[in-house]
């Protein structure tokens, strides 16, 4: 397209959008677009063509239809707290913000469900259900800011997901639109849709398959009591053994978190949560439920920790103490942010039994790449958050941090794990996807994308790398250059 033709096309789509939306629902000025240049992964930035901020599902549909007719990519955006560049704009794309669809449509306390619009903040659902003694269980650390639509698109987890599940386990239905504006309704209050479980496929689809405009979630009764045990261990290995011991006891703690020595020290300096500074690792294990259940479980958790050589142990005796013990874990990222100019948060998951081997590997890699790394760990479900220290102002540091990060994810895959436990792939982990999946799986992902969005206009280029990219990376699993099982006939 010539430059003139391109700018004519741009003005055509912008005027079509302007005609379909209220005056304050379309942003096109550079200074208006600036806040939308990136999400929580601020290493990547790019202003979009325009930002649409519809108020209603009908306006969302209109935006999609117009963009489809003009063959213009659309990037759905929630609160922009994603950590993988999932809402990174493109210069030729319309960023479709769902932030203004923030109505709580209804809460049914007897059926224990809430129907909400996608821009509703995660924490707002629990706040609105609190009067009924109910809450929405998945609690990403970003819960005061992130939107339920973003949670659906990322299948977000939280500190309590070992016991209460991820987003996929707590969403009952969605309504939304396909890329061309076709309305779609999947699931609802009745269990198990008929036909294929499309709802499960929508969870974690990173805005590539559907734009979500309504979400029905399950609410749970708020536990009567919660108590936390903080146990310190001389080594990460001992703490890891204690985790296996707790689960081996038949206990599923409401939360089970670990921090290594570097993370513990950073946190203790920052919030003074009372963590011992000489420990190799500390473990936080929470129990919730009725008073009787909690008393019993806490006693058993304490016993396991002692058996595995805990060097110190504290049990919260009040809500204030419980929150204080958690404050450290919750502030882990900002605490690390105080001791390094920048940090890069990884998100691999591994089978727990390989924890110490993987942490040893991370320590080796840290030396090799010349960058420090603190480890915060959802220990119960094997989800690691290594935080790589770097300084974006130092030439070459960003590249080193990314190379270190990819090596960590390789180590996770080699240990039988995966490259992302809860943050998603976005643009950030496209290369890592080539490590985890072989060509036939990636081709299937692309075909599924095309089944929902034949024109390839919804959040294109995210979440699934092209086969070409993987081939270039040299990470395709071709086994010595051979085709996968060449003995089979091909069609």
């Amino acid at each position: 397209m010539s430059q003139l033709a391109a700018s004519q096309a741009t003005s055509r789509i912008l005027s079509a959008l302007a005609a379909a939306l209220p005056a304050d629902a379309l942003l096109t000025e550079p200074e208006q677009l600036a806040p939308y240049e990136c999400d929580g992964l601020s290493m990547y930035r790019q202003p979009p063509l325009a930002v649409a901020l519809p108020y209603t599902a009908e306006q969302v549909q209109a935006v999609l239809r117009i963009c489809h007719a003009h063959h213009t990519p659309v990037i759905p955006r929630g609160a922009g707290t994603g950590l993988a560049g999932g809402v990174l704009p493109r210069a030729d794309a319309v960023l479709l913000s769902l932030a203004r669809l923030k109505r709580i449509v209804r809460i049914d306390p007897l059926a224990r469900v809430a129907v909400v619009e996608p821009g509703v903040r995660n924490a707002a659902i629990s706040e609105a259900s609190a009067a009924h003694g109910l809450y929405y269980a998945p609690d990403p650390s970003s819960q005061i800011a992130c939107s339920i639509g973003g949670n659906v698109a990322e299948n977000s987890g939280g500190v309590h997901c070992l016991k209460y599940g991820l987003t996929v386990h707590n969403v009952l239905g969605i309504k939304g639109f396909l890329a061309d504006g076709t309305p779609l309704s999947i699931g609802g209050e009745a269990p198990d849709d008929s036909g294929l479980d499309l709802l499960a496929l929508m969870m974690g689809s990173e805005g590539l398959l559907v734009v979500v405009t309504e979400v029905t979630v399950r609410l749970l009764p708020r536990p009567r009591v919660a108590q936390v045990v903080m146990a310190a261990f001389a080594t990460v290995e001992a703490a890891g053994d204690a985790v296996a011991g707790i689960i081996g006891e038949g206990i599923i703690p409401a939360g089970l978190e670990m921090m290594d020595a570097l993370a513990t020290r950073a946190v203790e300096d920052f919030v003074h949560a009372g963590y011992p500074l000489d420990a190799g690792a500390i473990l936080l294990a929470e129990s919730d439920g009725t008073a009787e259940e909690v008393a019993d479980e806490i006693a058993r958790i304490e016993a396991v920790c002692r058996r595995h050589g805990a060097v110190s142990l504290a049990v919260s005796q009040s809500e204030v103490e419980r929150l204080k013990l958690w404050a450290g874990r919750k502030a882990a990222f900002p605490a690390v942010g105080r001791i390094t100019p920048d940090y890069y948060c990884m998100d691999g998951t591994i089978p727990k039994k390989h924890l110490s081997a993987v942490l040893r590997r991370i320590a080796e890699l840290s030396e090799r790449h010349g960058l420090a790394c603190a480890n915060v760990f959802h220990a119960g479900d094997g989800n690691l958050h290594p935080l790589i220290f770097f300084d974006a102002n130092q030439p070459g540091d960003v590249e080193r941090a990314e190379a270190f990060g990819l090596d960590i994810l390789r180590a996770c895959v080699e240990a039988g794990g995966v490259i992302t436990g809860e943050h998603g792939v976005g643009v950030e982990k496209l290369d890592a996807m080539c490590v985890q999946f072989a060509a036939p799986e990636l081709a299937t992902f692309h075909a599924v994308k095309a089944a929902f969005d034949p024109a390839g206009l919804l959040n294109p280029g995210k979440a699934v790398p092209t086969l070409h990219r993987c081939a270039e990376m040299g990470a395709m699993h071709m086994h010595g250059g051979k085709l996968l099982h060449p003995e089979l006939p091909r069609f």
């Binding site: 306390p109 007897l110 224990r112 003694g133 109910l134 997901c161 070992l162 599940g165 991820l166 996929v168 999947i186 209050e189 009745a190 269990p191 198990d192 008929s194 294929l196 479980d197 499960a200 496929l201 969870m203 974690g204 009764p221 081996g248 599923i252 439920g289 008393a295 479980e297 998951t349 089978p351 390989h354 119960g380 895959v413 080699e414 794990g417 995966v418 436990g421 809860e422 943050h423 998603g424 792939v425 996807m433 490590v435 985890q436 072989a438 036939p440 799986e441 992902f445 599924v448 994308k449 095309a450 089944a451 929902f452 979440a463 699934v464 996968l484 099982h485 089979l488 006939p489 069609f491």
Partner: protein, 396 residues
């Protein structure tokens, strides 16, 4: 203690070892190769295959078409470490074998699948059927962590993994639960497990269905260790599961009579696949012999009792209703749809499609997904096609 019982071919170790998930997809053991060859041959001569495990769900969800392809050669637990709360098992493994192994380690599948004689793990996943614990501990797909499968090109695909948290790639493994083998042959699946509750108590409280539905929903909104809530034969049945301390503390507040453990176990096992207290599970194998058609309705949990419409049992804390009715299928479907749910013909009404018809948008997506996984139409589509025909003819 990790268990690694190799299948008949003894080649499992190569697959279960740590290594790039993608790399091992190329490995096919002889039992798997037989299946891949059969798929490729069927694709070449345009034949249709229907996948068969233990044949325990024959007739359910529709009649099978095409040549049977047995998965029984895929046998054995590939990887089980109780401290991970994860098990990886081959699809043709008898469900009973898996359950026995889990029981021996004090663990269980959260979704409490119907354990009909001969049932295999692959069939349990493909049918997506869950028992009474489903309302509290999740469905089949909720427990699924990953799967290896052969698609309609005879190609091995591995989705998901063996860990609890994983958001890499689309969740195409979860899509296999309830797909009735339409998207591929499951080779190996990984589940998230739960510890078996330290203590279980079942209470029986005589009351009418409507009152029971209200009561179960109200109880579920309070923090009680519930693991089952069903109504049949004039009584609400509640199962409390958890730590001994927790269950003991909860019991007095609820009232009712405790059901003696063996009777309670039989009751809940019956619910898992059969309308509670209705007919023995063995009847599943003879659907044609029954006079009154049986329906399984999925509805919002607080839906009124459908007693007038033939409801004789309620499970899943109100979300599942069993109806025995001679009403025309279209009426039962409309009833379910008007309540915001859907109906599956369970037994005795095989003359018409079992699956609830799909709306046109979802139907189109189904067709495209079938093409993605099975471009040559190798896998039996009977259950889905019948539903599609019905959708086209205007029934909802």
């Amino acid at each position: 203690m990790p268990v690694s019982s190799a299948g008949p071919t003894g080649t499992l170790d190569a697959q279960s070892g740590a290594g790039p998930a993608g790399a091992s997809t190329a490995v096919l053991d002889p039992a798997e190769r037989i299946l891949a060859d059969a798929i490729c041959a069927a694709a070449a001569d345009q034949r249709v295959l229907h996948l068969r495990g233990g044949d325990s769900k024959r007739g359910l969800g529709g009649t099978a078409h095409g040549e049977p392809l047995s998965t029984l050669g895929l046998r054995g637990i590939v990887d089980y470490d109780p401290a991970e709360l994860v098990v990886t098992v081959r699809a043709g493994t008898p469900l009973a074998d898996l359950q026995a192994e889990l029981v021996a380690h004090g663990q269980m599948l959260p979704f409490e699948p119907p354990d009909w004689p001969g049932a295999t793990v692959g069939g349990a996943v493909a049918s997506g059927l869950a028992g009474p614990r489903r309302a509290f501990a999740g469905s089949v797909r909720d427990a699924l962590l990953g799967a290896r499968l052969l698609d309609g090109r005879g190609q091995v695909l591995r989705f998901g993994g063996r860990v609890m948290k994983n958001v890499a790639g689309f969740d195409l493994f979860r899509l296999q639960a309830g797909a009735w083998g339409r998207l591929g042959v499951l080779l190996e699946v990984s589940f998230r497990l739960l510890p078996r509750p330290q203590r279980e108590e079942t209470l029986r409280l005589p009351m009418a269905a409507n009152e029971a539905i209200q009561r179960m929903n109200r109880l579920a909104a309070t923090p009680l260790p519930l693991g089952g809530a069903a109504w049949c034969e004039g009584a609400l049945h509640l199962r409390l599961c958890g730590s001994a301390a927790g269950v003991d503390a909860a019991l007095p507040g609820i009232g009712g009579q405790t059901v003696e453990p063996a009777a309670a176990a039989a009751f809940w096992a019956g619910c898992a696949g059969m309308p509670p207290g209705h007919r023995p599970a063995a009847d599943m194998r003879g659907p044609d012999q029954l006079e009154v058609p049986l329906w399984r309705l999925s509805v919002p949990s607080t839906t009124r009792s459908l007693g007038a419409e033939g409801e004789f049992a309620v499970d899943w804390c109100g979300g599942l209703r069993w109806l025995a009715t001679d009403a025309p299928p279209s009426e039962v479907r409309s009833l379910a749809a008007s309540l915001g749910g859907h109906a599956m013909a369970w037994r005795g009404n095989l003359a018409q499609p079992a699956m609830h018809p799909l709306d046109p948008v979802r139907l189109a997506l189904h067709r495209r997904l079938f093409d993605v996984f099975d471009p040559h139409g190798v896998f039996d589509s009977g259950r889905f096609d019948a539903a599609a025909v019905q959708a086209a003819s205007g029934a909802t």
